[in-house]
Homo-oligomer: 263 residues x 4
């Protein structure tokens, strides 16, 4: 089929709709896409799960799904805050839409040095970037989920020796003008945990993290409060949510806490 013939195919999406229902979001979901993120230490290559959607006026029957994929795949540069805003703007223009959102979820890697030996290794964080444009303006949201160690203050206090500890997931979601980097957000989560985790630890490091966690016991409540204090004090953050989930080593369920604040 040649191009002119394509124009002869009816465009079902473009016909008028009489149901008078505005659709808040319509688009593509769970699209896997390779992505390069422009990080402070250079580009980080990853694979993102991408959702893209626009608002659809009552009188239009359908959106044009292929255009979302087109817009995404035409973006070739490593993604930074300006590039993400431009991508959102191009999607709205290409879809002829007044409102819309792009959300990308991906693992992100930061090279860390072990606390005693100084050996470098990568650690993976789960990141979500979302840009949402409505009549009220455009809001950018960044969520960074950092793995960390938590050690139970109650267990330490009541036991003659030892204290149960476990891997935790600390998720910080901030809204604002994207002034905080992924690295900064991850750093806040890690500094307020009982101890940071690492990809690679030698024996002297393992001694350090064991004793550090024992010296620094925290409930999920402490984790979210100590991080909230940090974010309250940061003028770049306009609103935030902090969540901590402890994969309890003495149960088969999690302990969980959440603080959210609009300044």
């Amino acid at each position: 089929m040649n191009a002119p013939e394509a124009w002869l195919l009816p465009d079902v999406q473009a016909i008028a709709d009489r149901r008078n229902i505005y659709i808040n979001r319509v688009g593509v979901k769970s699209l896997l896409h390779p992505l390069r993120i422009a990080g402070p230490g250079g580009e980080v290559s990853t694979v993102a799960t991408v959702d893209m959607a626009v608002g659809l006026p009552p009188q239009v029957k359908g959106t044009h799904m292929s255009r979302f994929v087109e817009v995404l795949q035409q973006h070739e540069a490593a993604l930074d805050a300006a590039g993400f805003a431009a991508l959102l703007a191009r999607m709205l223009k290409r879809l002829d839409a007044d409102s819309g959102m792009i959300e990308m979820r991906f693992p992100y890697f930061i090279s860390k040095r072990a606390p005693v030996s100084g050996v470098a290794s990568l650690l993976d964080y789960q990141v979500m970037l979302r840009g949402e444009c409505t009549a009220a303006g455009t809001v950018f949201t960044t969520r960074v989920s950092a793995p960390a160690t938590s050690l139970c203050p109650c267990s330490k206090e009541i036991s003659e020796y030892g204290a149960h500890n476990q891997r935790s997931n600390i998720a910080i979601t901030v809204q604002g003008d994207a002034a905080l980097s992924i690295e900064e957000i991850a750093g806040i989560a890690e500094q307020e945990a009982s101890c940071e985790v690492y990809g690679l630890l030698k024996r002297p490091d393992e001694k350090y993290v064991t004793e550090r966690a024992y010296d620094n016991p925290k409930f999920v409540e402490d984790l979210v409060r100590d991080i909230a204090l940090r974010l309250d004090a940061d003028p770049r953050v306009r609103s935030y949510t902090v969540e901590a989930e402890n994969f309890e080593s003495i149960h088969n369920h999690s302990a969980y806490a959440l603080v959210e604040r609009v300044k």
Copy 2:
């Protein structure tokens, strides 16, 4: 250790906290729990993933995690709307809390008859029940996700024969006084799809569902709009969200649409 000795263990959670941070939610998360639901056709046994949380005043260091599990496991009757409200109230009382929430996510089974042969089989739906109590009152939310068939109107229109179709997931979330049963919500989703799906179909049924879907093509946009019309007309629904996700048979990503409305 005998009981009196237990009282001598320090209660770390109960000590005063000076950080002055209110915690919106703290509790247990992702607890697997067997559950019986009181359905219109009798009890439905299932397994729920349960989250329970309360608000924690700034001056209190920690909540008492074991009490959530205690409250949940003491509930023995098949769950209905009144029982869910009572469970939420008991949790708040036991945790000495002003606000809190319980969320349960579970598969639910409805026996359906195949459209031609009349053969009965079970179909599974994903259900979420949430009760949330704040100073503004208590809100109950029910979400039912129904599998269904969608057939693409564009593909049908432009092709000389055939039309791509696929499994869809239609999720209806309603807030209100729980006047709609899981069965009613599932029914609305299924009636507005290109066709319903079934656990068991004989050949005459397969002929029926194939032709029914072809006669009834719908975009994700059509799915959410037709369901929105139904919910708009139902006085028992105070607010709702309708989502449709098509696991496209011609792509490796989904088409997705969402309508939300507060009446």
Copy 3:
């Protein structure tokens, strides 16, 4: 459409196939089904994810998928070893097959008493039951995955205080005549861990499990070896696989070990 008309529809699956390829397994997969298990302490209600398949001779074009669902849904009694064998036999007969398999994966609940307070609570285990019939006979396999606590011997030894610990998943897979109950297999996994986990612990219990784990440090290597010794000594076990996965509290990846043996 009435029943006679159904017979007029062509049976595409039954036509001859000329490709001369035997199909090792064909059937249904990932079917959600409510299930009652006959446990030693009474029935346990759960929801299983079920796979069912048969071997298909080279000359037959297709199997009859609806019959698998029919056979499964006709089984109404609480499942025990004899019932599982009968279900497998009925499937083979209904599908007119010489070989086939049924696999069911589900959460299972055991009521446990906390070690000091004696408070009862449910704990969830992941169970897999598989029956496989071939020309060589029928083999039944049971896998029980138990959550448990592991405490690192190295961390304890090298640190002046504390020791990192975490939730582990211990999976024991046994083949034989199903003489070991789910409860027995779970018990072996739990007794050989640094400590058992529980749904509900009071403060004296938390002191106990903290100290118990510290007194009983184990690597993943120790977990699988100590369980292997137990299974080696049990004449009812003909072959087994033991796996331990520690969700390391100091890393964001797992430590893992596996021992397998055919006696």
Copy 4:
């Protein structure tokens, strides 16, 4: 802590073990790692989930977990078959082991052209690479899972119009000297499906894929048989498994078939 002090920490893993149990596999599991794959069209950046393990002799108490991560993170070149073999060899040497395995699972992207418009877009495939070294030699395994469209021959035959179709997942696992590229394996899966899927299709393409699938109906049985014929004819393949899973658009479970063969 300075370096000399590190040497004073006891090496618990290195002490003798008296239980006399050989451990088939011990190592790290579910480690997220950024990876570049050397593809025929250039490098493909992705993120892999990595498992690495070695066999552990009866007399050794524990392996050295940090060395696995060290070996993995020292590999910097884009991965090809020779590089994977070298990585496996380095791991065995570093861990002083006679046997061991590395398994990597990752999404892989291939740029495809739409069938009529020729528009290029990326499609994602799930790939698993495994190298396993035992006394019997080293075996390399490649599994490629390709999304595809399947259209039901029975539904087409018995219906006056239309035919149910759906997204399928076709997984081909081959063992041999890695002579088949990911692209070749994916191509075999796609060519034998009712139709290929694409990231981006324009209307003339959508017409094409709709009609192509309708002209080319296949059961899961047909999918695995037609692929088996292709692999039987390829002298580079020594043994293989072919699996097809159809996410049925008329049910909420899958149809599934598997053929495995050792030549």
